[in-house]
């Protein structure tokens, strides 16, 4: 039987954040990032021998246009016992997401035509600044980190992208854009800042893909 949960309960905010990260990964790109705006309803169900399933009604917003929101219903299943199995996340989005074809093509062509591969560090900087040219690079990391977060989430974690430490474009002979990122993830429950490497592929028609990722060791001075 499903139990309604108070919307400010920590288990709800964790599951909702996870669902939003997944939706962002599936639907996002350098021209569009989705973030959790609000939780409208939440309930939870324990399934014997399987795990714990959350039913959520969420509102997501476009990070580049806060007035643009969509409703999202999601189910998050945290598997019982299996530490290394990512939670199952299913979601449906109601309504239209903004078309970003024009911005995507501009970004795509800009990067494809660079003579020297793009390299950048510390996005945002210490004061929260992101230059306009780096916005799509940041958004791409935001979207891709959704995958890393999804794969590493449990009921006891709540991750956010804290910063891009380093990004390097990798030139490819095919049509894809490839970026090698080292990001910092902030894990809210332990308060740890975790460096994470991820290889991200993107194409305007094929969406975002994380092809490789690995947790990095922290240096002793940090």
């Amino acid at each position: 039987a499903a139990m309604e949960l108070p919307l400010s309960h920590r288990s709800v905010t964790r599951a909702a954040a996870l669902a939003a990260h997944c939706a962002c990964y599936q639907r996002g790109g350098p021209g569009r990032g989705l973030a959790l705006r609000a939780v409208r309803r939440a309930s939870r169900q324990d399934i014997d021998d399987v795990g714990r399933k959350y039913h959520l009604e969420l509102v997501l917003e476009d990070v580049l246009d806060k007035d643009s929101t969509v409703n999202c219903t999601a189910e998050v299943l945290y598997h019982l016992g299996h530490k290394n199995v990512a939670p199952d996340v299913q979601f449906t989005i109601e309504g239209e997401l903004k078309n970003t074809d024009e911005a995507d093509n501009i970004f795509y062509n800009r990067i494809k035509s660079l003579e020297i591969e793009l390299v950048a560090e510390n996005i945002p900087d210490s004061h929260g600044n992101i230059s306009p040219e780096m916005e799509p690079i940041h958004l791409l990391a935001w979207v891709a980190s959704g995958y890393v977060i999804w794969q590493n989430s449990t009921e006891k974690t709540k991750f956010q992208l804290a910063q891009i430490k380093h990004v390097k474009q990798v030139k490819r002979s095919d049509e894809y854009l490839e970026f090698d990122y080292v990001i910092l993830l902030h894990e809210m429950v332990s308060q740890e800042i975790i460096p994470w490497q991820m290889t991200v592929l993107w194409h305007p028609q094929h969406g975002v893909q994380v092809t490789q990722d690995s947790r990095q060791l922290k240096h002793a001075s940090e």
Binding site: A35, A38, D125, G128, A162, H186, S190, I193
Partner: protein, 372 residues
């Protein structure tokens, strides 16, 4: 109209002239007609003047000349914030004084501003910001609150009535060692900078070092962890200084410790799921405070006890203050919800401080109206 920078001295000596634009062509024509050679030393004097003015403004930011010229819309260094405090006291000696309540591990002074209209040991409100050094919007908001109290202490009815009965204590940089480290070495540093005896890892989480459920679940005993509780309660001088202050004062009625990020207003407990005896009242105050906060820019906050709303945390500040009998003990987590997280753009400092101030006033007014 011609401005001679090197005046005529005699034949064979050069002459330097600044030429206003309308005179440029006539002068050139005149010199050419008379066979006098010339060269252009500076194309555009105005451009140089503009550059210089910008440079001067930039270097003047190092040392604010008054709290009127201080830039509240940017993040500042420790020295700039400490200079600000002295300016505020100098400008308002009848309202504001600065107390040193102790020294940090690296021997930096720990300063608290006292706002008081008089009396002796009046019931008081305590506000601290920057206990976790990477939470930069909090120290920046603390600076703004200090100025706000000075600006409004006579003309804002609510604040004036609070100060008629109560004092306000404000510690803006509660963890100065950590703060300097975030500016020089690692923007994401959270803890203090104390050495740990059996480890190369540095620092203790100052919000796990208080004597409330100390060492229990919700803190780490690993010195390398961000939530390391320290070797014993109050091991950190930054924490001990506040503990001593609170105990010596003996009349603090509201205690508010400010963090970022997540947009939450929290009350005890963090170390146990047993509800605080005053939970109902604290919950009602929170509801009102959050409504006031939201009224300004629509910023959404959630509220509840620490343990149900974010996580179990032992050795936390407001659990200790609450158990000391300070009923109105609250923690804020300011903007945002993760888009920028700790790296909140500076242009959000003032809106964040403004909306948070409205919530703080609700809590302070409640404390004033419900003496105990």
């Amino acid at each position: 109209q011609l401005d001679f920078w090197l005046a005529p001295r005699g034949t064979g000596y050069p002459v330097d002239i600044r030429v206003p634009f309308p005179s440029l062509q006539p002068l050139k024509a005149h010199l050419e007609a008379n066979g006098i050679s010339y060269s252009i030393m500076i194309e555009d004097v105005q451009a140089l003047v503009d550059d210089e003015r910008m440079e001067m403004l930039r270097s003047r930011r190092q040392l604010p000349l008054s709290t009127n010229t201080f830039d509240y819309t940017t993040y500042h260094s420790l020295d700039e914030i400490y200079a600000f405090m002295d300016l505020l006291v100098a400008e308002n000696p009848n309202l504001v004084s600065k107390l040193e309540i102790g020294r940090s591990t690296e021997n930096r002074p720990l300063y608290v501003l006292k706002f008081s209209k008089g009396g002796t040991n009046r019931p008081a409100i305590w506000i601290d910001t920057g206990i976790h050094s990477r939470e930069w919007v909090t120290q920046a908001s603390g600076v703004w609150f200090a100025r706000k109290i000075v600006l409004d202490h006579e003309n804002d009815q609510g604040l004036a009535s609070i100060l008629d009965k109560m004092d306000i204590f404000l510690e803006i940089v509660t963890n100065p060692d950590g703060f300097v480290f975030t500016q020089t070495q690692n923007r994401m540093w959270r803890k203090t900078r104390s050495r740990n005896s059996d480890s190369s890892c540095i620092g203790v989480d100052p919000n796990r070092n208080w004597d409330a459920g100390f060492g229990g679940p919700g803190a780490s005993r690993n010195p390398c962890s961000e939530t390391y509780h320290g070797p014993y309660a109050n091991s950190e001088p930054e924490v001990k200084a506040i503990v001593d202050f609170v105990k010596n004062h003996g009349n603090i009625k509201a205690f508010i410790s400010i963090h970022s990020y997540s947009q939450l207003l929290l009350y005890p407990y963090g170390y146990t799921s047993s509800p605080a005896p005053d939970q109902k009242e604290l919950h009602q105050i929170s509801e009102k405070a959050v409504a006031a906060l939201s009224s300004l820019y629509g910023t959404n906050y959630k509220y509840g006890s620490i343990i149900t709303t974010i996580y179990q945390a032992s050795g936390g500040t407001i659990d200790w203050t609450y158990n000391q009998g300070i009923k109105y003990s609250f923690t804020f987590e300011l903007r945002d919800t993760g888009r920028y997280g700790f790296l909140l753009p500076a242009k959000q400092i003032v809106p964040t401080a403004q909306e948070t101030w409205l919530a703080l006033k609700v809590i302070m007014l409640h404390a004033r109206d419900h003496p105990y």
